[in-house]
Subunit: 118 residues, 2 copies
DNA sequence: TTACGTGTGTTCATCAGTTGAACGCACATA
DNA sequence: TATGTGCGTTCAACTGATGAACACACGTAA
């Protein structure tokens, strides 16, 4: 997972559920705790996320990770780029698949017809 | 790139062009020379590829990498698995894309209509 | 109050994977 | 012979990810 994609996914999750712990994020994204921590620190450093105290004002731990206005717009921009890239990846994949089918000599395009149509 | 995918791509290239050098393979696959060497050694070890002397019988270098019968069948099996996985990846990608579109709120399905149809 | 358990963010030694510069070798050529 | 070229091979060094261990701030119960 690219750093850019990771930032996007973290922003995405935190917007919908700001009280996620770093461990929960790590599990949800399938990466390590250390990497999540590193990513969140970067987001805070950039001013895209603000760590608000949770439960008790003097508690330095157990944060609420709230997206700042800049964080929201950054997340929207990342979403669009992410989407565009995924669309392109899907197109590339189609070409690879067709090349493979031709190479294998299988005429099993019937598979596609059972997928969700386009 | 997964080790399995790398083995497949190497077999694929060598079948079509057994006189490729390791440097050419590295460039074609976008990976390092060392990794190609490691992969080819593994293929030879498994008996999927045989390194035949090229140009001159006493020359230990400049091999022809010929696929053995086992190499051919292994390559065919890998191709099928590779294809199946790519198809699945493409399906997953479609779901991600649609989820993103819903999240972004864009109704730009028109994009698809310009792609190669299914 | 005190002591303990729990869950948090943080740190960092360790590891697995990759790289490509450097090397030894076998030619072709002069 | 001497030199240049291109090959496969090696491996020290780099990169990025990991998760065990840690310090801390609570809640809870003795």
């Amino acid at each position: 997972m690219r750093p850019e994609d990771l930032r996007f996914q973290v922003l995405r999750h935190l917007e919908q559920k700001p009280d996620m712990t770093q461990r929960e994020l790590a599990a949800a994204l399938g990466i390590s705790l250390g990497r999540v921590n590193y990513c969140i620190q970067a987001l805070i450093e950039r001013g895209l996320v603000k760590a608000a105290n949770f439960r008790n004002s003097r508690n330095k731990r157990a944060y609420l990770y709230k997206l700042t206005p800049r964080g929201l717009s950054e997340k929207a921009a990342l979403a669009l780029r992410f989407l565009r890239r995924k669309e392109q990846e899907r197109q590339v994949l189609l070409q690879e698949i067709e090349a493979l089918r031709a190479e294998i000599g299988q005429a099993n395009h019937e598979h596609e017809k059972h997928e969700q149509g386009e």
